[in-house]
C-alpha cells in the first residue's frame, strides 16, 4: 500500500507521484471522476494499475493518499 501524491500538472493532467521511487506518471484513466464519487481503479501511463478507495466528492489536489497495486 504505497503512499502517493496526486496533483495536476501544468497542462491539467492528473499526475501520480510515488515518492519512494521518484516515479511520476500521468493517470490516463480513473474509474470514478464524478461529483459523487472520485477514485477507484486508476491506469497509469506506464501501464500499471492502482486502486484508490473512492472519495465521496472530488478531493482538493494535491493530496497524499494510500493506494493498492493491482
Amino acid at each position: 500500500m504505497p503512499n502517493v501524491m496526486l496533483r495536476n500538472n501544468d497542462s491539467g493532467e492528473l499526475v501520480f507521484y510515488l515518492a519512494k521511487k521518484d516515479q511520476e506518471e500521468i493517470v490516463v484513466s480513473i474509474e470514478h471522476s464524478g461529483p459523487e464519487s472520485w477514485g477507484g481503479e486508476m491506469q497509469l501511463s506506464d501501464g500499471t494499475r492502482f486502486y484508490l478507495e473512492p472519495f465521496d466528492k472530488p478531493p482538493k489536489l494535491p493530496i497524499t493518499v494510500r493506494v493498492r497495486r493491482l
Binding site: 521518484d22 506506464d46 494535491p62
Partner: protein
C-alpha cells in the same frame, strides 16, 4: 558533431568490455545514447542505485547532501556536524555558497562546529555531549537564530536520541533546534540527504508559524526561490531578475537564506524551483499543505532565461507579463553583444558534462547559445525523474552516463576528445593531465555567478578563457617527442 545513436551504443559496448562480466552487465544499464523523443526514462536507464564495489564512483554521502547542500548555505543557523571530526572539517566552507554578514555574528557557515566524537562517546552515547555543545554554542554565539544537528554515521549506529535532545534544548534556549537524520550510510548517494534535509525543514521549521498571525503583509507577487544555493552568487543574480519583473522574493532556499525566510514561505504565491532534485520534496509538500504551486525554471543562458521569465510571468497578471517583456528587451542587446564576441571563438566546440542535481540538463542551453554542443552528460546522483527531464534537452545520440565511474569518464573522454569537460574537483586534474580544458561546474571554478543575464556574461568569458587558453598546446607527456613551433601553430 555528436555521434549518432549507433556509434554511441558501440562506444558504450567497447568501454564496458573491460569490466568483469557481472559488473559490465550492471553498468550497461546506467549508460545510453540519448533519444530526445523519449518521455520516460525508467525503461532505458537505471538510476539511483548503489555504486558497484570495485569501481571508483564520484558520489558523496547523505550527510554531504544535508549538511553540505541543503543546510550548509543557511546563514543564520549553526550546523553541528555531530560525530567524529573529519566529516565536518573536510566539508567546511568548500562549496562557495555566498552569504552576506559577519562571521560569528550573523553568519556561521565558515566555521566547523563538531561534537568531535571519541571512543567513549561511541561506547556511552553522545547525547550528553550534544546537550553541552548546544549550550556552549548558545553562549558563544547568542545571535544564531537556530541550530541544526547533522548526524554523521556513528549517531545512527549507536542509536542516540538526538530528537529528544533537540526538543529539550529548543525549550531551554528558546531557539529552533533541528535534528537531521542524515547519517552517511543512508541511501546510495547524497541525494537521500537532500530528501532527509527537506523533511527536517518540513517537520521542524516551516510549520512553526502555522495558525499564527502573519508577520508581514502579503502582496500578490510574493514568491520564493527554491533550490538555489547561491554558488558564486547565483541566487542573487536570479533574485534581481525576479525583482526586476516586479515579483517580491520573500525567501531564498537555501543560498543566503535564513530561518525567518523559511518560516515566511508558506505565505508566498508561487515557489520557483531551480534545482528540482534537491528541493522538489519541500515544494511538493508546500503545494499539498499550503496550496502553493511550484514551477521549475532555468536561468542559464539567454534562450532559457527568456523562456523561463515568460513562463514565470504567465502565472501572474499583465503588469508582470509586460515587465517581463520589457526586461527581456532591455537585456537583449547586451546578450547579443556577448554572443557576437564569444560565439566565433567557441562555435562548434564539444562539451562533456558530469555534474550533480540539475546542471547536466540546465546548462545545455547556455552552451548552445554560444554555439557549443554538449556531446555527453551525466549525473552523479540523479533519479529517473531527472532523466525524464534530460532527454529533450540533449541532442540526439549524445552519451548519457549515470553515476559514471572514473574509468568510464576517462575512456569516454579519450575516445570523444571533447574540447571542454565540465565536472568537479575530483575529476579536474585527471583531465588537466590528459590535456583537456576543464571547468568545475559544481563550484564554478572560483568564478560565478552563472545564473541570470549577469551570470551569462561571466559564463561566456570563462568558457572562452578555458577552451582557448594557449596552455593546452603545451601539455605533453615528458616521454613523447616535443612538437615543433609550426606544428603547434597548425594545431
Amino acid at each position: 558533431m555528436a555521434m549518432n545513436r549507433e556509434e554511441s551504443d558501440k562506444l558504450i559496448q567497447e568501454v564496458l568490455a573491460v569490466y568483469p562480466e557481472e559488473t559490465g552487465k550492471q553498468r550497461a544499464k546506467h549508460l545510453m545514447a540519448n533519444d530526445p523523443e523519449l518521455e520516460k526514462s525508467n525503461k532505458c536507464i537505471v538510476a539511483n542505485k548503489k555504486a558497484l564495489p570495485g569501481v571508483m564512483t564520484q558520489r558523496g554521502c547523505a550527510y554531504a547532501g544535508s549538511k553540505g547542500v541543503v543546510w550548509g548555505p543557511v546563514k543564520d543557523t549553526v550546523n553541528i556536524s555531530h560525530g567524529p571530526i573529519g566529516c565536518g572539517q573536510f566539508s567546511r566552507a568548500g562549496r562557495r555558497n555566498y552569504v552576506t554578514g559577519f562571521s560569528g555574528i550573523n553568519i556561521f557557515g565558515d566555521m566547523n562546529f563538531s561534537s568531535d566524537f571519541q571512543e567513549k562517546d561511541v561506547v556511552f552515547g553522545g547525547d550528553k555531549k550534544l546537550d553541552t555543545l548546544i549550550s556552549e554554542i548558545d553562549g558563544l554565539f547568542p545571535l544564531a537564530k537556530g541550530i541544526s544537528i547533522q548526524s554523521e554515521c556513528p549517531i545512527g549506529l549507536i542509536g542516540d536520541d538526538i530528537e529528544a535532545v533537540a526538543k529539550k534544548k529548543a525549550k531551554e534556549i528558546g531557539k529552533t533546534v533541528v535534528p537531521v537524520r542524515c547519517e552517511g550510510f543512508r541511501g546510495v548517494s547524497q541525494s537521500l540527504g537532500h530528501h532527509v534535509a527537506n523533511d527536517s525543514l518540513r517537520d521542524w521549521v516551516i510549520s512553526k508559524r502555522d495558525g499564527k498571525e502573519p508577520t508581514f503583509e502579503s502582496t500578490p507577487y510574493d514568491v520564493a526561490i527554491t533550490g538555489d544555493y547561491n554558488i558564486g552568487g547565483d541566487a542573487w543574480a536570479s533574485r534581481v531578475l525576479m525583482e526586476e519583473i516586479g515579483l517580491r522574493v520573500v525567501a531564498q532556499w537555501s543560498g543566503d537564506g535564513s530561518l525567518p525566510e523559511f518560516e515566511s514561505t508558506p505565505r508566498v504565491k508561487l515557489n520557483l524551483l531551480h534545482c528540482y532534485r534537491s528541493m522538489n520534496y519541500i515544494s511538493r509538500h508546500m503545494e499539498e499543505k499550503y496550496g502553493i504551486p511550484w514551477l521549475e525554471y532555468n536561468f542559464f543562458g539567454p534562450t532559457k532565461i527568456v523562456e523561463s521569465l515568460r513562463k514565470i510571468a504567465a502565472r501572474f497578471d499583465s503588469t508582470i507579463q509586460e515587465n517581463a517583456e520589457r526586461v527581456i528587451a532591455k537585456y537583449q542587446p547586451t546578450m547579443d553583444a556577448i554572443i557576437a564576441k564569444y560565439r566565433p571563438r567557441l562555435e562548434g566546440k564539444r562539451v562533456m558534462l558530469f555534474v550533480g542535481g540539475l546542471r547536466p540538463r540546465h546548462i545545455v542551453g547556455a552552451y548552445e547559445d554560444l554555439g557549443m554542443e554538449v556531446i555527453g552528460a551525466g549525473y552523479e546522483f540523479a533519479h529517473n525523474d531527472d532523466y525524464d527531464r534530460t532527454f529533450k534537452e540533449l541532442q540526439d545520440g549524445a552519451l548519457i552516463y549515470d553515476d559514471a565511474t572514473s574509468f568510464e569518464l576517462e575512456a569516454f573522454a579519450e575516445r570523444l576528445k571533447p574540447d571542454l569537460i565540465g565536472s568537479g574537483i575530483k575529476e579536474k586534474y585527471v583531465f588537466h593531465k590528459m590535456g583537456i580544458p576543464f571547468r568545475q561546474m559544481h563550484s564554478w571554478d572560483y568564478s560565478g555567478p552563472y545564473h541570470g543575464y549577469d551570470g551569462f556574461a561571466i559564463f561566456a568569458r570563462d568558457m572562452d578563457m578555458t577552451v582557448n587558453n594557449p596552455c593546452w598546446k603545451n601539455v605533453r607527456a615528458p616521454w613523447k617527442p616535443a612538437v615543433s613551433e609550426d606544428e603547434a601553430a597548425a594545431a
